[in-house]
Symmetry: C2
Subunit: 629 residues, 2 copies
């Protein structure tokens, strides 16, 4: 599959855009006219600059309000086209995108439009150029690719073809099967964009909400598979308008875009009965069967505080590393590693982020395959020199520059911990809190980066994303979206912070985006856990009593249960599948914390309780109740 992206999709000035697009691995680029007009070089200079980056100009766009015009507008429109043909010849590109007419002057009538395109095709042919026609979802007469195709068919000119755009087709819910009957040689270009499912005016939706395939909710992979079924072997090109992207990092938008196309190609390859030789095969999405361990980097002083908190949570030291200042704490299937080594990656992570959970180890079905897939999807492999005899674990870089280790039965934790670690006897008097495994990991990122990481996780790992929910912090909205798999063994909640005054934003700013803001442990008996925690001297986050009065009214809880929840500061939620209990630790450092949850069939994450948890935490951070500066 050949990949392309429109220059309008990224932020930055033209040279910056082209560099980022080339570096991300695209084969071609659509030159968006305004980017070119604002640039201070001739068309020939721009063409040369594009090719110097190893890119092909896949098309020049947009040419607006062309077909079906009455005279004298019609003649003027053809003159205008000739001027653009001049530019294209200087740019040295052969295809122009004509989008369906939105002018109130447009007359309509497909034969009239076909005749206009035939004439335009004649004029283009004289110069060796080609014309592609695209139906805008809000075109005045033509807003459906089936109508645009009928016009192209009747124009009956070898230099006139159809351009498809997934947004325009899918936003109008046009049957994608209609694509399968279009001859591939008449498909001059296929543009792709996704969008979140929000019912709104199509033009506003398109201009402000488009995103990369896989970042939204539209069936873009099914659309691309229908295109592939025609035998089309041209470019798939991203055309994304999005306010967030316009203000984002040029380079990461380009990287996300390339990743989205590679992932899409893989989905298309798997969806089709016939092997598609134009698409490079890669291993399937990795199945995650749990979190083997979480590793913290810390200095010795903060490590001691962290260990004290872990002890109140019922953790005990199980082993120490043979060659490094690294300890392994354990309870049930939960393994937490504390790394105070000043050398290596943990040390440099500490230098940037301070004490933080900088590495997650995921148990996958096949670690080698998972790494291969991740790298194919533009993830950065992570390698750390190992001391001879130590196990090297396949790994990639994740959120906040942290590390995701990939572990399987072949390179399993047993072997890893036997080889690298020496067992120790922890003599601290600690009562087990019945914590069984990690329920979920919560990562905080800048709101702008949420699509990046949702795409990252769902492209590499077999997992789905849940719909976005708004978490109300007194200082602003935090958006939350979850990546989870069917088994529930991978659950990552991603929280997007827009300003640094929210609890999430404060954590992000103060830790320079370390990523993991909280770990949630699972128990089968929240009250037994609470009793053990009390014995260990754990002080739970204190929740407002008003919360419990409402809980009783809201869920019709019996007084005995609500009194018990209140006494233990346990939050409660219920959905159609069952009940949920949540208990929080105080915050540690700049806003890191632990959570303990019990699920009785419940599928969510207690989003409705977040406002009460945040209010309690904010009080905890500053005893005077005033917001932090």
């Amino acid at each position: 599959m050949k990949t392309s992206i429109a220059t309008v999709s990224t932020s930055g000035e033209l040279p910056e855009k082209l560099e980022a697009i080339a570096r991300a691995g695209f084969d071609g680029v659509e030159v968006f006219e305004n980017d070119f007009l604002a640039f201070d070089g001739s068309p020939a200079d721009v063409g040369r600059m594009v090719r110097d980056h190893g890119l092909e100009i896949t098309l020049f766009q947009p040419f607006r309000d062309f077909e079906g015009m009455p005279e004298p507008l019609r003649s003027r429109t053809f003159d205008r086209a000739e001027r653009k043909f001049d530019v294209m010849q200087q740019l040295a590109t052969e295809l122009i995108l004509v989008c369906s007419n939105v002018s109130s002057a447009a007359l309509g009538g497909i034969d009239r439009a076909a005749a206009d395109f035939h004439e335009l095709g004649e004029r283009a042919a004289k110069r060796g150029l080609k014309v592609g026609y695209e139906a805008l979802a809000w075109g005045k007469h033509i807003n459906d690719h089936r109508d645009a195709w009928e016009i192209v068919r009747r124009a009956d000119h070898p230099n006139v073809g159809l351009i498809l755009d997934s947004f325009h087709t899918l936003s109008r819910k046009v049957d994608i099967n209609s694509i399968r009957s279009i001859p591939k040689e008449k498909l001059f270009m296929v543009q792709l964009a996704d969008a979140p499912l929000i019912d709104m005016d199509l033009l506003y939706w398109s201009r402000h909400f488009r995103n990369m395939p896989g970042e939204g909710d539209l069936p873009v992979a099914a659309f691309a598979a229908a295109v592939a079924d025609t035998g089309y072997d041209g470019y798939f090109s991203l055309e994304i308008f999005n306010d967030q992207f316009r203000g984002g990092s040029t380079r990461s938008i380009a990287t996300d875009g390339h990743r989205s196309l590679i992932y899409l190609a893989d989905q298309v390859r798997r969806a089709r009965a016939v092997p598609d030789l134009s698409i490079q095969p890669m291993p399937p999405r990795a199945i995650v069967n749990g979190i083997a361990f979480v590793e913290f980097s810390a200095d010795e002083e903060e490590a001691a505080d962290l260990v004290r908190m872990l002890e109140t949570l019922g953790f005990q030291k199980e082993a120490v590393h043979r060659s490094k200042d690294v300890s392994l704490y354990r309870q049930g299937d939960i393994r937490l590693i504390i790394n105070t080594d000043r050398h290596g990656f943990a040390g440099s992570s500490f230098a940037i982020h301070g004490t933080s959970a900088y590495a997650l180890a995921l148990v996958v079905d096949d670690a080698t395959n998972a790494l291969e897939r991740a790298v194919a999807l533009d993830a950065e492999p992570f390698c750390q020199p190992v001391v001879p005899g130590e196990v090297e674990i396949p790994a990639i870089r994740g959120v906040g520059g942290g590390v995701i280790y990939l572990i399987d039965d072949k390179s399993n934790l047993g072997r890893f911990s036997e080889i690298d670690f020496l067992p120790v006897e922890d003599e601290t008097e600690v009562v087990s809190a019945h914590l069984l495994h990690i329920d979920h990991v919560a990562q905080t990122v800048a709101y702008d980066e949420m699509p990046t990481w949702l795409l990252f996780y769902t492209a590499i790992f077999e997992a789905q994303k849940t719909p976005m929910v708004d978490i109300i912090d007194p200082a602003g909205v935090v958006r939350s979206q979850v990546v989870e798999n069917a088994s529930g063994l991978l659950r990552i909640t991603l929280n997007g912070a827009e300003n640094r005054r929210t609890l999430a934003g404060h954590f992000m700013a103060e830790t320079f985006g370390s990523g993991v803001q909280h770990l949630a442990f699972h128990t089968d008996d929240i009250f037994a856990t609470a009793a053990s925690l009390r014995q260990n001297g754990f002080k739970p986050l204190a929740i407002s009593p008003n919360y419990y009065d409402d809980l009783e009214a809201r869920f019709g809880l019996d007084t005995q249960l609500s009194d018990r929840l209140k006494a233990e500061n346990i939050l409660y939620d219920r959905d159609e599948h069952g009940e949920y209990f949540q208990l929080y630790s105080p915050t540690f450092g700049e806003g890191f914390f632990f959570e303990i949850v019990q699920r009785r069939g419940y599928a969510g994450y207690g989003a409705a309780n977040a406002i009460f948890r945040i209010a309690a935490q904010k009080k905890h951070l500053r005893p005077d109740g005033m917001p932090k500066a």
Copy 2:
């Protein structure tokens, strides 16, 4: 008119919200349940805290999913209501808001709903409480206030009444005349919210886009006038959900809200035939007949640079102040004052913002009235000690803490400049550039603050706001909206910057929000002006040649005209009313600049050209073409 606001409308924690609401001048507050639940004090504490701020609790809300439930849900819902009645008695508030049922379990049927409300009324009456029913625009069965009113009518209970919300009524385009037939004693509360006109899912629109009356596009004043016609003399209460507000400054949201209600009351008073004694009269919106002068604060070094630029623009020094280091430059009706006095307000403005256009003098129909109205609308009056004999001009604080002087025929500029200034003879050799008056003033603010200033200008001055347009900067979107009056003598373009990498955002960050980023002067002959400027040694901002090739194609300009535009670096636009020509100066300091425009009937501001202007300016700021960090 009694004013109230729901706690959910502002950012912050409950104590912070209440303080800001009281300080802004509201009479009452709706306690939004989550704000109360998250707070760590008893209901009685909260009630006391509200009253200690001099505020009344106007209602407690929301009570959801009440009417039309099947058993056993129905009984549970009544139990839940009783628990909320307990809370209300402790809070010491009498009214609860019940919003129409959105539960899939709700059965519908207005008689069933009426019977439920009758019973709830009976229960409320026993405790001296009242129930208000509000139709949500997305209610399952009831989504129109006319249906909610029919239920209240049939419930036929003195403790059950109707609550209206302008958003729910206007978003569904329900005829507001239907309000005029509701007896005022059955209207228990009237909530107000506005919203920009974007066609989208009602719930999404409501949750994310609501804003203060006058900040959006809904006919909220007509809605409130219909309410007033019933004889309703209760609270008008703001209920605004808006992501931007949630992250904004608690205090300025409360101030904007209060201003919006005062302005609304004035509109209602004027709209009604019968004098409304509950509304304090104020002078009408001030009519602006021009900009008398713009005053810059600068230090001597930068003032010299500024003067050099003004001279190339054809300005000459006309007078100097009698007692301060202040000079007046003039061309046509344009007066620019340069104040290098280190004392007084100009000096302190310079200390904060650096060289900037910190004061605008507006010529109004009646300066005393304008000041009175502005102060009634919560504007901050500005007073500066004057030397005996000098004219004190009425003034208020505006964008960026700058000053807006209000001048009329009684306190006119002639008198002001005669008394305070001494004429001088400028011997610099300068050719007039035929600049006649100030066409518009462009102010840059943080995107969050745009609604604040749009409301400020349109509430105080007779002016309208235009729809928002997106200006594409390579580093992000800048939103632009114009405040203008019918005569065209007041034209202020407001640009909202979301990040500091855009040209507007850079200016805002580096000048600490000084406000005025550019001044546009009007000429009747752009080519004559360009010729004069050249004689004065003026170097216009250089525009990309590609722009002119497109212009010729786009507008079908003859080659002679487009060559002339290109030679002079003049930008061109056309709308249905006529033509527009724009010529820019280089930027000064951190991004301030001058523009010269000629309008031949054209009504806009050349938004389509902004991308080319910004690209050229960014290059000018950094010769290597790289974006500023």
